[in-house]
């Protein structure tokens, strides 16, 4: 099926099986490999992207369901890689291997967009769907807090 998707603000014409999960369309066909595969069934969060600003697991959404939606991947989160969440992630030296971090950052950015001042409990709940096998959770918690501060500073 020929389908046009809006990915990181640019239209992409794809010819793929309508049932193909967005994850594989992004990775194999658009060659945006920042969105990672980790489980394929929405349990690990590595493939988190934004659909009209809301976090979704790209492994569990078929391309036919995202026609007309604005899709944002880690590559399109910011123009220069300096989204407040990305900066906070660097300032807390969060990643170890880095494989899960695209998904972590996309989940955190969506959380802060929806709730600019999450409590620690709200933060943990929102980030609980993202697995990090290296165990960077302590730093993720601190980085989300830091990003919230950066975003407030930017607005002030």
């Amino acid at each position: 099926m020929k389908i046009t998707l809006t990915i990181n603000q640019s239209p992409q014409l794809l010819d793929v099986d309508p049932d193909m999960p967005l994850l594989w369309a992004l990775r194999d066909h658009v060659r945006l490999t920042g969105t990672k595969y980790g489980c394929g069934i929405g349990l690990c969060g590595a493939c988190t992207v934004h659909l009209d600003g809301k976090p979704v697991r790209a492994c569990s959404v078929p391309v036919s369901a995202v026609k007309g939606a604005k899709i944002t991947t880690i590559e399109g989160l910011s123009r220069d890689g300096n989204h407040p969440v990305q900066r906070a992630w660097r300032d807390e030296n969060v990643p170890q291997c880095g494989y899960c971090q695209s998904g972590q950052i996309m989940s955190a950015a969506a959380l802060l967009h929806q709730n600019p001042s999450p409590s620690p409990a709200q933060m943990r709940t929102a980030m609980a769907g993202n697995i990090c096998r290296c165990g960077t959770y302590d730093r993720i918690g601190r980085a989300v807090e830091r990003a919230a501060t950066y975003m407030k500073e930017a607005k002030a």
Partner: protein, 737 residues
């Protein structure tokens, strides 16, 4: 992003700021023929260019442990280079880099002195060249941030000296810095890959794209020895995008035993998944196969008998007859698997025929050098015809030091005559991986009239890993499989006996972060804690008594430097610090009437000494929470403090998963688990508060990836008992519904 052989010129043009450029798998072999830049390469690992840029080739695999950053710090410090001019390159599997297998916490331990020596050699040659050029004696020159500087303030950059330095004679014994001269070592440095890691630009194995590449998945047999009966190739081929469907026989190769399977090749990942679903594979039934209950019975049967004695001292039988009280306990741990978030994968391209066959692979491998040899062996070609490009690695934990995932990709590429990316789904990873062996251990000890331990017997029953690494069935455990956390008991106990028994089990075993020390530390630390309770002794004071006086211990004959013999004085320092930091002598305050408890464990691994205190809250009905984990680490001089701390944080979480939820079982002749719903790993909601401290004694730096992992389970189990809950003898602590 495609995996191309970035030439050295491209790499230099990209510059230090363009992180994405050097996250690509770079083939230095190709670059070496493109020597347009003048450069000074005093070793295989260091190259100083006329532009002032410095390339460090790191031959140890980066899987998140920070080795690229840490070795760059070591180089930069010893060379007095400017940090912003240093670029880090991944070594391919070329033999000139020596052993590249990145396992067992050895990268710093083995590598830091050779790298410093190479850097000091380069620095001496740069100074010597400057001395000649400025006509100033070398001892009147100093170095700083990439410059050689004379007393009158004249400065020559390393870049402008590079060509001249290359003509200098290397010093016979280059002088290394004293610890008080370090400028970068011991300081905070952000990871060299940080920008790429936070923008999705870092290229992991699964992200490699080679022109003309196809994708492949394998439906593997349920067990390593199961044979294929039938499959529906036509149904699979009817799925759009599927191009090839064929059977692949199992192959037993040292460390790379591959399962029998059916390969589905297609134009993209999704077509492979759909094509595989249509296969309808039938396997030959294997009636002899053991499921988990039979495995457990076999382990129990073995522990009921005596094992092979690996170490003994004194007379355990005589001591038993004199003991006032004898305590005997059994501990069980199940199969577990690595579950790195990036499943093993490999992109391979085999071209040509017969002896003119060439093979290039791109893989998230911990072991490129051996991969290369195994590929050459499999294709019956010279190793010179094989190139192994190492990508960023999305977690290794030991799994990616094996060869199966690389060899399978090579076989598929050879068969289809095209480049192919062989990937694994999470289900493939969990069901046909390599596993930490299950263990059944019996510990027995006597307490004498003086309330001291008068004998200690430890029998460890496990499945040897040597069948995986040596390519033949193990008959008994290797000595190292007991030394790993069992027979190296540092306490002064007059009569000891360490026994081991190998029991064959159906799954492949291999190293997993923490290795056999994981279950041995669990049993030994829990048992010692229970003995302390039985004897009415404080577990920390009791340990201190049994470790005094400060002494050095060597448990087996080796040529290892005496510096690495265990030092009970370091253990005592650690225990005293842990007591102070956890306020051990004061009971924990109960909150809302809920019982709180703390537990202690101590362990030495990779010549690193670790102590841990876990604090828990016990709830009515047996539920509990882990409130805080305190971890004290003595790994000698800490080179990269923030990365070192990250390793400890990560080890605590990795150990927590193994303690709380990780269990692989066999049911109906196959692995019952398949994904993160039934093989649960720790999440942010499980992450306890952590207090981590390093002992700063300035001793030789030692390993840090593994030693904290084996402490988590015993510290928690001891804390639960301390909080009044039933003492636990089996892992995992939580059963999934």
């Amino acid at each position: 992003m495609s995996a191309v052989n970035t030439s050295r010129r491209q790499f230099l043009q990209a510059g230090a700021a363009s992180v994405a450029a050097f996250s690509l798998p770079i083939n230095l072999e190709a670059a070496a023929t493109n020597a347009a830049e003048t450069s000074f390469a005093p070793s295989a690992f260091i190259e100083i260019f006329s532009t002032g840029k410095i390339a460090l080739t790191v031959h140890r695999a980066e899987m998140g442990q920070g080795i690229r950053t840490t070795l760059a710090m070591v180089l930069c410090d010893e060379l007095d280079a400017d940090w912003k001019n240093v670029t880090v390159i991944r070594a391919n599997g070329d033999a000139k880099y020596g052993d590249q297998n990145t396992v067992g916490d050895a990268s710093i331990f083995l590598g830091w002195i050779p790298l410093r020596t190479a850097a000091a050699t380069a620095k001496a040659m740069l100074v010597s060249a400057a001395s000649r050029k400025l006509n100033v004696p070398a001892n009147e020159l100093r170095t700083e941030s990439g410059f050689v500087i004379a007393k009158d303030g004249k400065r020559l950059g390393y870049g402008e000296l590079a060509a001249l330095a290359a003509k200098e004679v290397p010093p016979a014994t280059p002088k290394l810095k004293a610890a008080n001269e370090f400028r970068i070592i011991g300081k905070y440095v952000a990871s060299v890959d940080l920008h790429a890691q936070t923008t999705g630009a870092l290229t992991f194995g699964l992200d490699v794209i080679v022109p003309g590449m196809r994708y492949a998945l394998i439906e593997r047999a349920p067990l390593p020895d199961t044979k294929l009966k039938s499959f529906d190739a036509a149904a699979s081929k009817s799925v759009a995008g599927v191009t090839d469907v064929f059977a692949m026989e199992s192959e037993f190769m040292a460390e790379g035993h591959t399962y029998a399977g059916v390969v589905v090749v297609a134009g993209d990942s999704w077509s492979c998944i759909e094509g595989r679903r249509a296969l309808n594979v039938k396997w030959q039934a294997d009636p002899a196969s053991m499921d988990s209950p039979q495995i457990r019975s076999a382990l129990e049967g073995a522990v009921n008998k005596s094992g092979t004695i690996y170490r003994s001292g004194g007379d355990v039988d005589a001591a038993r007859s004199r003991a006032k009280k004898i305590i005997k306990r059994r501990y069980y741990t199940p199969f577990m698997t690595h579950a790195a978030l990036e499943p093993p994968n490999c992109t391979a391209h085999v071209q040509g025929t017969n002896e003119n066959t060439h093979c290039e692979v791109w893989a998230p491998t911990q072991n490129p050098g051996e991969n290369r040899e195994r590929i050459a062996e499999a294709l019956k070609i010279s190793v010179a015809n094989v190139t192994v490009n190492v990508t960023a690695i999305g977690g290794g934990f030991g799994r990616k030091s094996l060869h199966d995932f690389v060899l399978e990709a090579v076989r598929v590429s050879k068969r289809i005559g095209a480049p192919v990316k062989l990937f694994r789904t999470r289900e493939d990873d969990i069901r046909s991986g390599f596993y930490r062996s299950p263990s059944m251990q019996e510990l027995e000890a006597g307490i004498d009239a003086d309330n001291a331990i008068n004998f200690w017997r430890h029998h460890s029953v496990q499945s040897s890993q040597s069948s995986t690494s040596d390519g033949e069935l193990a008959k008994e455990l290797a000595e190292g499989e007991l030394l790993a956390g069992a027979s190296r008991l540092p306490y002064a106990i007059p009569n000891v006996q360490f026994e081991g028994t190998h029991v064959e089990t159906p799954l492949r075993r291999a190293w997993m972060r923490g290795v056999q020390e994981f279950y041995h530390s669990f049993a030994a630390n829990c048992f010692l804690d229970e003995l302390a309770v039985e004897a009415g002794r404080d577990p920390l004071e009791w340990r201190l008594e049994m470790l005094a006086p400060s002494r050095r211990l060597q448990f087996f004959n080796s040529r290892a430097n005496t510096e690495y013999w265990w030092d009970t004085g370091r253990m005592m320092d650690l225990i005293r610090r842990a007591a102070a930091l956890s306020n051990w002598s004061q009971p924990l305050v109960w909150v809302n009437g809920e019982a709180r408890g703390r537990g202690f464990a101590m362990h030495v691994q990779s010549s690193t000494y670790v102590a841990m205190v876990a604090e828990v809250t016990a709830r009515p009905g047996g539920d509990f929470s882990i409130d805080r984990v305190i971890c004290l680490v003595d790994c000698g001089l800490v080179l990269n403090p923030d990365s070192a701390r990250a390793q400890v944080e990560g080890a605590i979480l990795y150990g927590l998963t193994s303690c709380m939820s990780a269990e692989i079982t066999l049911k109906d002749g196959r692995v019952a688990q398949s994904n993160f719903h039934d093989y649960a790993v720790s999440r942010i909601t499980d992450s306890p508060q952590m207090l981590i401290e390093f002992m700063s004694n300035g001793k030789t730096p030692t390993g840090l990836g593994e030693p904290c992992v084996p402490l988590v389970a015993p510290a928690i189990v001891n804390a639960l008992a301390n909080a009044g809950l039933k003492r636990r003898y089996e892992l995992p602590l939580r059963e999934l519904a």
